[in-house]
């Protein structure tokens, strides 16, 4: 796995979308892979919450016939937390303050998710 490329993607996302405060990438089971988070955030706990949140949302979408889960967003009075699945094996967390344009975030995130997926799986795909 190319650590530098992963860190670059996370930083680039934060610089592209105004209002992103923190990002993290974790395996689908909640094991943290990389975190670009402030000291006030516990990244390990955040990764575990994101895994549980995405799992719950996926089951909710299934049980209510809402189709394929796209993302989950938790809105609070001081901003929001968005959880995205990265392929079948990982997830990405994006935290933003109340100024972040969430529609803009969803738009910009799509190519980033694809690139992060290929960074995380590139060696496995080669079968090394």
């Amino acid at each position: 796995m190319d650590h530098k490329a992963l860190a670059l993607e996370m930083r680039s996302l934060r610089e592209q979308v105004t209002g992103i405060t923190d990002t993290a990438v974790a395996a689908a089971d909640g094991l943290l892979i990389a975190a670009d988070t402030a000291d006030s955030i516990d990244p390990e706990g955040l990764a575990a919450l994101a895994a549980a949140g995405l799992g719950l949302a996926r089951r909710t979408a299934q049980a209510t016939a809402r189709g394929t889960l796209r993302r989950t967003v938790t809105y609070g009075s001081h901003g929001c937390a968005a959880f995205y699945a990265v392929g079948d094996t990982a997830l990405m967390v994006v935290l933003g303050d109340e100024g972040m344009d969430v529609d803009d975030l969803h738009r910009v995130t799509q190519p980033t998710l694809r690139r992060i997926d290929s960074i995380l799986t590139e060696k496995a795909a080669e079968g090394v």
Binding site: M1, T18, D36, S77, K123, A124, V128
Partner: protein, 279 residues
């Protein structure tokens, strides 16, 4: 192009034509200017905290109180009447906060990059001030702020520098604003981020950050802080779906077979017991 270059002719034109609706500015941070009869009644931008963020972040209104106010007002985006009625803010105070936020958002758009703008009519107009601001005055104020910022000994951009406290933050006593900025300047936050975090205007925060950089209270690290990759998947080769080592065993013991039909009640049992009918 710079936000101001695009904003200046677009705002002036909307004013001349007495436009009512939204002027959406695409860019970084970009934003939306709301017009009524050619006057600006609200400006929203991801680059500057709006009145809601200013009230909530300053602790004047709590998140729960805000939720309640929005419910009371029937889902209004700006429950001004409720804020005054509940005594969370005075009417005049609220007007000042709104006008300040409006100018601050215009400054943020003007200081940033703008790619394009388009007008859009709206079904329901969003207004934060009762008496609109003339676009000319809004532009003049934005230009004055940009010039004042550029004239500082160490000018900064609201969305660029990410400072940290110099000398470990051990500088002498500071006022409330400086103290808050020092507490939250962690090398990850820009002036704009600090403005949201502390519930201050972005212009105020940017000017103070510029002064603190000039005085050596803050400094900009040469390299951005590294992003630690804390965990490499066990084989060091990336993530992939788990393959169970042996076939998964059922967690629960096999349940007893479900009978095809409910057992039939035997005649006589309970009825006989209760009514004393002999066998």
């Amino acid at each position: 192009m710079s936000g101001y270059e695009l904003l200046a002719p677009a705002l002036a034109e909307c004013g001349r034509e007495r436009f009512t609706g939204e002027l959406r500015i695409a860019g970084s941070p970009g934003g939306t200017v709301h017009f009524r009869d050619g006057l600006v009644v609200a400006v929203e931008s991801p680059g500057a905290p709006g009145p809601e963020a200013l009230l909530l972040r300053s602790g004047r209104v709590s998140g729960e109180q805000w939720t309640e106010l929005v419910r009371e007002s029937g889902g209004s985006r700006w429950p001004a009447t409720g804020l005054v009625a509940h005594g969370y803010a005075g009417a005049a105070q609220l007007r000042v906060v709104c006008v300040m936020a409006l100018h601050d958002a215009a400054f943020a758009i003007a200081a940033g990059r703008a790619d394009d703008c388009e007008r859009a009519p709206v079904a329901e107009l969003f207004a934060q001030v009762a008496v609109g601001e003339s676009p000319t005055r809004l532009l003049r104020e934005a230009a004055r702020r940009l010039a004042a910022l550029a004239a500082l000994p160490r000018p900064v951009h609201p969305d660029r520098e990410r400072p940290v406290p110099a000398n470990g933050g051990a500088a002498g006593p500071h006022g409330a604003l400086r103290g808050e900025l020092l507490a939250h300047a962690d090398g990850r936050r820009t002036s704009r981020d600090l403005a949201f975090r502390t519930g201050r205007g972005v212009y105020t925060a940017t000017v103070e950050v510029a002064r603190m950089l000039a005085e050596g209270v803050l400094e900009c690290p040469a390299e951005p802080l590294p992003i630690p990759v804390l965990h490499t998947p066990p084989d060091g080769q990336g993530v992939h779906p788990r393959t169970p080592e042996r076939p998964a065993e059922p967690l629960l013991p096999p349940s007893p077979p479900i009978p095809a039909a409910l057992p039939r009640r035997k005649p006589g049992g309970f009825f006989r017991l209760r009514n004393g009918i002999p066998k």
